[in-house]
Symmetry: C2
Subunit: 434 residues, 2 copies
Amino acid sequence: MDTYMRLLGSFIAFKSVSTDPAYKQEVTDTVTWLRKVFAEEGAAVEVVEGYDNPILLARFDVDPDAPRALVYGHYDVQPADEVDGWTHDPFVISDAAERIYGRGVVDNKGQVLVHIATVIDALHAGTLAKNVTFFLEGNEETGSPHLADFIEHEKEKLSADFALVSDGEVIGDTPVIETGFRGGFNATLKLTTSSTDLHSGIYGGAVPSASHELTLLLAKLLDKEYTVMIPGFYDAVDEISPEESKALASVPFDREEYYRISGVKGLMTDNVYTATGLKPTVQITGIESGYTKEGYRNSIPANARAKLNFRLVRSQDSSTIIKLFQDWLGANIPPYVTWVLDVNDPYAGVKLNPDAPFTREAASVLEKVYGVKPVYKYSGGGLPIVTFLKEHLELEPVLVPLGNEDCNMHAVAENYSKSHLKKALAFSREFFTH
Amino acid sequence: MDTYMRLLGSFIAFKSVSTDPAYKQEVTDTVTWLRKVFAEEGAAVEVVEGYDNPILLARFDVDPDAPRALVYGHYDVQPADEVDGWTHDPFVISDAAERIYGRGVVDNKGQVLVHIATVIDALHAGTLAKNVTFFLEGNEETGSPHLADFIEHEKEKLSADFALVSDGEVIGDTPVIETGFRGGFNATLKLTTSSTDLHSGIYGGAVPSASHELTLLLAKLLDKEYTVMIPGFYDAVDEISPEESKALASVPFDREEYYRISGVKGLMTDNVYTATGLKPTVQITGIESGYTKEGYRNSIPANARAKLNFRLVRSQDSSTIIKLFQDWLGANIPPYVTWVLDVNDPYAGVKLNPDAPFTREAASVLEKVYGVKPVYKYSGGGLPIVTFLKEHLELEPVLVPLGNEDCNMHAVAENYSKSHLKKALAFSREFFTH
């Protein structure tokens, strides 16, 4: 825990926000710091430029006969700001009694640091039983747009027997092995109805309004059950197999706890894990139109913008869905509305084999540490790296999430529960010293 | 024109934005400056506090036998910012070849200044033929919430034979006398679906989203023809009388010019003047939810907010409509969505008599100056003062808008066309010197 806590504060302090170019220097500083941390421990470190934010590879060799783990993590984080509701600077960790708060403490700095700190401690103790290559990227939160390219070009540097990825959440105190992720893409849609905002009294009732056109369009895109209304959207979605149904049925679900953690007062599905793991969705992650500050400006907005996050399952093809969406927009936006669609960072979903050898090893270590068998879960989140590892490197990805379920990933008050952190460190120690 | 231009730059330079409390000091400074301008010309000036922003009264007496005009105007303006698209500081006038640009050059500083500068010049020339009381308020853009109170308490200070209000636009080069205004109110609606933004991968498809609930709700509030769907909303709206139809039919309408000025590519009505003058509307003046800055934050928004501007006709009662709207929200918002509605500044619409004596005098001066008879128009905008003048003071309001139609009131690049300004000054001179 000492090594971990010593490094965590420094790691979190870098505002390595990849979704906003204003933080480029912080990204560079993060990588400089990581390079130093690994070099001091005797790793062969390489920082690769040319694929957007730098990619860091740190290689520890202990025994040529031992298997090699490629440990993936990302050092970039989501934006965070006190104005969003953080009660302290989100880039300074707040070490409270039960939890550690800060942007990135679970997603993903704090989680990948579990393995980094463990490997460093095991090296010092002479107990490291696996060779390890750390593979840290800085564009996960922007959809890892150049990572497939990097992997194609640098295959030999990533050679390993399996890949270990910890970037998710356990369920209550039950450990989890993730056996699939959704893919998807982001899109920004901009509508324009006039050349300038128009006086709402003088023009109101006579002219179209970008704000209203956007609400009409989005209400047609998703119905009140949150079903996506683009024709053909669900065509390629696989039927859920009996094995999948069985696996999903074994995942514990406590509705009250789920409501408490998320603060929701209702669900749009009968089965949360099916809905997020095996079904696609479209989420409106941002809307903006007109005047939204203090008071009122009585104008009809000329422009309206929505940010949309498409989450697709393995069997859906991003480019097909993008085409369907574009066609749908063309058919559903009235002629008096001008529109522009930007699509960003598509990547495919993935399904994994729960019986692969290192996945089974991880499962038995999880059972030993947590005292219960892990459940196999399809995660609703997307992790482009998993797709690339599987498809480009033909490497077995072992997905062991180590965050607590109420970690508030991507939101205000992101936190790592100390009891979960302790189990995470115990898992990592057990796994890397055997 | 010299007096006018000398005063305009100083008047515009005050950021007297009433919709944002941050500008309180600028409001105070505006009034201090106005007081000085009037006092230097020998007016009896009084600044009345206690009704939100100060109200300034400036009284010029030339002949006890002459009629007295109460000239109403407002010194407060809408917000304006370079980030909205202004290409220069909106609070520094830009005096271009054909137009003068700046926030408030038409709404309303530049328009009321037409009469102020004219009266000052006429005083100096000894040609002022009417007694004048200027009545300048600073809360028009926030709906004049305390003006009715002020008028009730200070009736004698406002005594006059008629009121002159210039706060609107002519149609092309055709002068206008406004014979009615819509009333209305503003409302802010906030929806909440979770206690914090939720990861769109892990939760997306399982939980409700504030952004989507807002689009569903607003798309039900207004249909695609922009009809308001609140049951009973149109019940109290008067049938359009044959006289009104005739008056509206005589108002020139050039669709191409209307499209050019507004930049719209379609209309939601067959008759713009009927739609804006004699029918109510609800406009979505602002929407905000989730992450809207550069890049993406893949979260499901916990909160969404809309600002709505209700424009009601004379025969509709604001409090009835507010009640209908609240009931409609209660019936249409799902139980898993928490909501809060704030309603601000309701005021009634008004209809005026085009045959009242000073209205006829203004009409004949307009015809002389513009070379064509004025048209009588119901304005879609609201001017609470007109309702109060008529109902509390039983004073004849004479509504002579003097702005150009493409003035971009409330929007970016608000401007006063110099040819329109010259006619405005000619009208005012002719009117006050006879």
